[in-house]
C-alpha cells in the first residue's frame, strides 16, 4: 500500500494548514514590470523571480502572479498554451482545441477521483487539444 504522505508531503501539509498553496505564495513575491515591456524582458523577469524567490509580508503592488497573468494574456492573443501552437488570437477565434474564450462545462464536488483527492472541487472546461479515438469525456 502506498505511503501517501511520503509521495505527496506538501499536499498533506496544505490540507492540515501546515503550509500554503503555491498560488498564495505567488501573490507575495514582488516583481517590477510594465505592460509595455517586450516578451523577452518579461520572461527574463519571470525566470529571475522564480529562481530568487523572496516573499513579502504584505501583498506587493505587483506580484509574480500578476506577471504570470500578463504573460498568459499575451499567449492568449497568439496562442501557444499547447504544443499544437496554433498562434491564433483567442479573443477573435479558436484554435485546434475549439476553445475561444473559456467556458465551464460543469463544476461540482467530485467523489470519483483517487482516494487521497476526494472530495475534490472539480472544474470542467469545454474543449481539448487532442482527443483519443476511444475517449468518453473528450480526453
Amino acid at each position: 500500500m502506498i505511503n501517501d504522505r511520503y509521495i505527496l508531503p506538501r499536499y498533506f501539509n496544505i490540507l492540515e494548514e501546515n503550509g500554503n498553496a503555491k498560488y498564495l505564495q505567488c501573490k507575495y513575491i514582488p516583481v517590477r514590470f510594465s505592460k509595455t515591456e517586450n516578451n523577452k524582458s518579461l520572461w527574463e523577469k519571470h525566470r529571475s523571480a522564480i529562481e530568487n524567490t523572496k516573499l513579502c509580508d504584505i501583498i506587493p503592488e505587483k506580484s509574480l502572479l500578476d506577471l504570470k497573468i500578463e504573460l498568459a494574456s499575451r499567449i492568449f492573443r497568439e496562442c501557444c498554451f499547447c504544443e499544437r501552437r496554433c498562434r491564433v488570437d483567442r479573443n477573435l477565434e479558436s484554435g485546434n482545441c475549439g476553445v475561444k474564450k473559456p467556458s465551464i462545462a460543469s463544476e461540482f464536488l467530485h467523489f470519483g477521483e483517487e482516494n487521497i483527492l476526494v472530495p475534490s472541487y472539480t472544474i470542467f472546461f469545454q474543449g481539448v487539444h487532442f482527443i483519443a479515438c476511444f475517449a468518453r469525456t473528450g480526453i
Binding site: I2, Y6, I7, L8, R10, Y11, I14, L15, E17, A21, K22, Y23, L24, Q25, C26, H46, R47, I50, L65, K68, I69, L71, A72, S73, I75, C79, C80, F81, C82, E83, R85, G95, C97, V99, K101, P102, E107, L109, E113, E114, L117, P119, S120, Y121, I123, F124, F125, Q126, G127, V128, H129, F130, I131, A132, C133, F134, A135, R136, G138, I139
Partner: protein, 177 residues
Amino acid sequence: MSKMIDTRKKQGAKNVNWVGGDPTPNLYYILKTLKFCRVNIPQIWNSNMYCSQETFEILNGIIDVYLTDFKYRNNECALRLSKVDNYIEIIKRNHKFAYENGEVIIRHLVIPNHIECCSKPVIKWVANNLSEVAFNIMSQYHPEYKAYNYKEISHPISKNKFNQIKKYVNDLGIQEL
C-alpha cells in the same frame, strides 16, 4: 468562480481540480480566477500533459499537484489513436518538469493490445525516471466514441491481462494508488 472555490472548501473540498477537456487552453482564465481567490487549498492540474514549455513555466509556482495522463509510449500509437504529433518527446519533458516542480500522480489507462508497446514501457520509464510519484493504473477501458473503427481496441481489457500489468508495476517498486 473564486467565490465558488471558497464555498466548496467550506463544504469539504480538499483541492481545486482543474480539468477539461483539458485545462491547458484555459490557463489565462484560471490565473485570473486565482487572483481573486484567498483560500489555502491545493491546486491540481488534471491534464493530458501536452502543454507547451511556456505554459509549464507559468504553472510553476501555481500548481501543487500534477494529476497527469500518460497514455502511450511511442509516437505511432499516439498519432494513430489520438492524432497528435511528437507525443513522447513532449510528454516526457513535461513529466520531468512536473516532477521537479511539484508533486505528481500519474494515471495510465491500460488499453487492449497496447500492453507491450505502451503500458509496460510507460511503467518502466516512470520507474527509471520518476521514482517518487504515485501511479494509478486504470482498468476501466471501455470502447467508446470511434474505438470500434480500430479492431485491436474494440473490446475491454481482460482481467488476466490487467493483473499482469499490476504485477509488472509492483515488481518495479512503483507506488501504486
